[in-house]
Symmetry: C2
Subunit: 279 residues, 2 copies
């Protein structure tokens, strides 16, 4: 029996998603919670949709875990019992991780390989008079005013199927070809700048490099056309700064209809085998 767990966390006190010995990670906390609450004989094996980096947050992380209903004493197929499981997990988990929902995953579901796309948001306040201490854990404070129209224009030039090597940390044997489905910037009523970016998958630190590129444009240090130039260059440019992790939040992961899950998994795992799908 495969469970789908929808998860939110404040990444500030975590060394990212992936479990590492001796470090506080989201995967580590969730694994311990599942293993304890379900009284599993071995550690739960959890797989997530977006392996967020150290300090990156999530409101829409999706995880799957396989449990044997015979072994587990509390898990069961009934929705009501999965609600109890969610409550117990939240009782066990620290307050910076919250389980939002536990459901039985449909046949063929895989949190990582069945995902159609991931959507991240990067939040910036660029006016000292608007800095809000209540949201300082997930909004970047930038000391100079940014031109949202220029940033939005530059972002639009990157949308599409491209090799994003210029914005990725290169890893041996891993492709940097991605489909950027959306990338745009808006200014909310309260003055906050929000960059929304959606892609089939992201490589390591890609969103934060894209945002760094946009900030150079927003400050007027670079023209909007510079983003496309960097992209075409296919190599990291020292002028592109990787911005801090705490402004970044994994907002949503989308999956196809149940009937199309298995085909999606087959396609994705063949295409991206060995690569990381990170924030």
């Amino acid at each position: 029996m495969r469970l789908r767990i929808d998860l939110a966390y404040d990444g500030g006190d975590f060394r990212g998603w992936a479990a590492q010995p001796g470090l506080r990670t989201v995967q580590g906390e969730l694994t311990t919670a599942l293993t304890t609450v379900l009284r599993l004989p071995e550690e739960a094996q959890v797989t997530c949709a977006g392996r967020t980096d150290s300090g990156v947050h999530a409101r829409g992380q999706v995880v799957h875990v396989d449990v044997d209903p015979e072994v587990s004493k509390t898990a069961a197929r009934q929705v009501t019992q999965l609600e109890v499981l969610a409550r117990r997990l939240n009782g066990f988990l620290p307050r910076d991780v919250r389980v939002r929902r536990v459901t039985e995953a449909p046949a063929g579901f895989d949190a990582r390989f069945a995902a159609l796309w991931r959507r991240y948001a990067y939040r910036i306040v660029d006016d000292p008079a608007r800095v809000d201490p209540l949201t300082r854990n997930h909004v970047l404070s930038w000391p100079r005013a940014l031109d949202v129209a220029a940033m939005d224009q530059a972002a639009g030039t990157l949308v599409g199927l491209h090799d994003f090597a210029a914005f990725c940390k290169k890893r041996e044997g891993a492709t940097t070809i991605r489909t950027l489905l959306d990338f745009g910037w808006t200014r909310a009523e309260d003055g906050m700048l929000v960059g929304h970016v959606r892609a089939d998958a992201f490589c390591h630190s890609m969103v934060r490099a894209l945002v760094g590129c946009m900030i150079a444009v927003g400050e007027g240090r670079k023209e909007a056309g510079w983003a496309a130039e960097i992209l075409t260059g296919l190599r990291r440019d020292p002028n592109v700064v990787v911005v801090p992790a705490h402004g970044l939040t994994l907002e949503e992961v989308a999956y196809p209809e149940d009937a199309a899950l298995a085909a999606r998994v087959e396609l994705t795992s063949a295409r991206r085998s060995g690569t990381e799908v990170e924030g």
Copy 2:
């Protein structure tokens, strides 16, 4: 020369506004920052509009402080220099307090006694599936669904000039008569419940007792009419729980036009001499 300082803070790590020896308070931090940055020979004397309790936040706190331009080496009348002062204060202050603006106060201004009203917001999420770890420092998580229409109805019955003794911690010689200008509840698009309350002033723990009363109504444990009954009773009712501080934020303080400041100060200080104007 009197300065007006607009201030925001995350109250979570503070023992409230008012300076207390050996405790971390907002007044204490701001006093130290002003005294240091302005190189004052004595401690700066700062007065605020709303003496928030331990754990209560502020986005719209207003403070005044008198500085002698002869003594101060950096303060000056020019706006640009006040911007420099704001930046230096923020450089000195911890990240959970932010100065949003420093301006020269108009003649007759007094952060406390010239205020026309204070507006607070109390934020609640009443659905476990919507609990957001990123806002857990300033939003109360409530385990059961609340009826926002019933809460809004009950809140409306308390608006007006009343003796709020039933919702106040009684203090010797202090009046509990207040004018509640607005009190209402709305549910935002993301499901968050927000209670907005505006009054000429509040007595100690009054907003949190009002919210506790509303939650009893929102859960259906009490009818909407119960709030008015409590009010008329003029004494604390054990059924009214004072809710946790971390859901409460001082959002805004309003002042009259410059020409009316002195008259307002005279009126308020005569009427409320010896009372506290707290959250």
